[in-house]
Symmetry: C2
């Protein structure tokens, strides 16, 4: 499939508008804190949510709205600076956010989905949103700058804006998927993810959209871990408004496969962006498992390596401590034969094999250091036990992670 | 039960000798690296081991020796500086360690159990052990200093020696349990633990000894986590030589309960010592779950809080970020009602309730800061769902953890 990355983020999809502003939830006036994404025509929607039993109020209301409206939605409102989670009035406030946006857009509140991200357990004041909703809606537009402002408005400790868009064809019609994401700490998605808002002009049923999203999330967002903490507010939402005018995708056909392939490429890119911008991170870690006995085993192994605090700290120090890789595989819970495992470190500076059949090889520490001093490190693990592969993404554990999280609420 | 803590460590138990020396496995001549514990008469033995699939060679040989000898052992040899794990010749080297000690002690090698701790995947050179075994055995003695030297010889990144002993009575006979432990990083025991060597002069069968050890470990060592990494070399061993001359404990009777109670007290103390000395730690964290629906739920919840990197970093910063406690409970996998949960922080400086029925309370940040600035923090969590309790121990996540583990092999 031909897929071309383009600019424009969520506004790259036809008939989608966006805007992001500072409304006053965050103290720093230079930080935007309220985003809105809007489809000019009703869109099919699908979403995946955190499996944390503690769920942010916005997720509960979003789920309800998608259900009430039979998978039809038209907009997403999201604030940063406060997660609206573990608050007695959380549901009420999330509904008020939807009502304010809906009134201003002249649609029903059930057409609006809601996201919130930031500190848990502090009341979210609706006033700043109420006072600025008119401005937020008034300046909605199609420009790349509009998507940029929305992407910035959902950032918390993120240091990089996360935005993507791509163009591809279905039935000779030009189609688009665009997205923005946030996620930097409390990242260990479980069947869902950080906040990711995706738009598409592909003509696809809600059921197929949900299936595509759920499948792609399993091999992308669910394979990231920054700190092993599964957030209460993880959510990925996609709206598809059909403006590309391809034949409706309503079954598992060739067109569905093209859409899934495009979506998977987009989500993989976003996953890498999120992992690379992990709190305090200096390096992106990519762990690739080859020749595992089954897919689940491959995924468990890849994720266990990416999650090991000890291994992450070693990568920060560019220390080729492969024993910690084997250790993490050993306690992962996967049923593996550790005596068959080979380990190799790889980066732009080259690659080096450090372990074969579960035992150490003599290797040049100097070469290993050179490889591990790069800012993207690949850990290749050959299980020699089957045909399955999986990839997981994470980042190193650094002084700055501790610094950022020692005083997050301050 | 009356139990009195005394000095003497592993030598507090009658007819136990010990010694620890520098033999040359570690480069720094000021660091001891070889320990020996010896019972003058054959003792019943029991052990629990890591559940990591990657198991250190010393554990494999120890398990085999206990089996061959029907639960009778007489000595434990242990080196630090090298884990003898993931080495092609690991088993051979572990057996050589037992042979060298046995020859010098004039017993059979199967009477010797073996431990190793340190870096994984580097060959352990037997020469320094061979060259110094005579001196190690020659200077075995009963003194508190002897236990001290053994306790120091098994330390790696530990900053504090971990040693304990207690006296209690069974059938009017004075009995003892003594122990030494190491453990600072890669601490997330799973049915076993770091290295812990225990001695006792209680007269107890191997079966009862194993049962007591396994039970106590579940509520003590298995409730510690420093970094979520389950080591390849975790092992807890106990030798009981019967010198106290109480009636043989060979069933689940009252005397067995006294022994278990004493052992549990000892292991709880050691657990706290290990958690407080976690790599880079500045604070001991103790998470207590009250009124859980069952024991397993209580344990899972306590451990999930203790394991959260985000919560650990918040404790380092003395930040009362209780939302991270709820978040960790929510993703723990335990079946809990988050809307019933109360959270309270406690230390020598007082206590403060921060969350009730799953929602935040107004509280004084100043008071909270004062409480969290202490070096032992208790997190009290009331589940309001039943009658079960559990306690887990951990430590804060600090810059020094990252520093220590960024260059562990160097």
């Amino acid at each position: 499939m031909d897929l071309k990355f383009i600019s424009g983020g969520v506004c790259a999809s036809k008939n989608f508008l966006a805007n992001g502003i500072h409304c006053g939830i965050r103290k720093d006036k230079n930080k935007k804190d309220l985003a809105l994404i809007f489809s000019e025509i009703p869109a099919h929607s699908a979403a995946v949510y955190t499996k944390n039993l503690v769920k942010g109020a916005p997720l509960i209301v979003t789920k309800e709205h998608i259900k009430i409206n039979n998978g039809i939605s038209q907009g997403i409102i999201c604030n940063s600076g406060n997660a609206n989670t573990c608050n007695a009035d959380g549901i009420e406030i999330a509904e008020a956010m939807a009502n304010l946006a809906a009134n201003e857009l002249n649609i029903t509140p059930e057409n609006i989905l809601i996201g919130s991200t930031g500190v848990i357990g502090q009341k979210l004041n609706i006033e700043p949103i109420k006072n600025n909703i008119h401005e937020l809606v008034k300046n909605l537009n199609h420009s790349p700058e509009a998507s940029d402002s929305a992407a910035r408005a959902i950032m918390t400790t993120d240091t990089q804006k996360k935005e993507i868009a791509a163009e591809f064809e279905i039935n000779n019609k030009i189609c688009h998927i665009g997205g923005i994401a946030k996620g930097s700490g409390m990242i260990h998605p479980n069947m869902a993810t950080m906040l990711v808002f995706l738009t598409s002009d592909v003509n696809i049923s809600s059921e197929c959209l949900q299936k595509a999203l759920s499948n792609c999330v399993d091999s992308t967002f669910n394979m990231i871990s920054i700190d092993g903490d599964t957030s209460t507010n993880d959510m990925a939402v996609i709206l598809a408004n059909g403006s590309a005018q391809n034949n409706l995708i309503d079954s598992d056909n060739d067109e569905f496969k093209i859409f899934c392939s495009a979506l998977n490429t987009i989500l993989t890119k976003l996953s890498r962006m999120i992992a690379a911008d992990g709190e305090g991170a200096t390096k992106l870690l990519e762990c690739r498992i080859f020749n595992a006995s089954d897919l689940n085993t491959a995924r468990i192994c890849a994720k266990s390596v990416i999650c090991s605090s000890l291994f992450k700290a070693a990568m920060f120090g560019a220390d080729a401590n492969w024993g910690r890789v084997l250790c993490a595989l050993g306690y992962s819970g996967a049923d593996i034969d550790v005596n068959k495992i080979n380990v190799e470190f790889e980066s732009n500076a080259g690659k080096i094999k450090v372990c074969e059949n579960g035992a150490g090889l003599d290797f040049s520490e100097e070469t290993a250091k050179k490889i591990l001093n790069e800012n993207e490190i690949i850990i290749n693990i050959n299980s020699n036990s089957g045909n399955y592969t999986a990839t997981a993404w994470g980042c190193d554990l650094t002084y700055d992670y501790v610094k950022i999280n020692g005083s997050y609420r301050s």
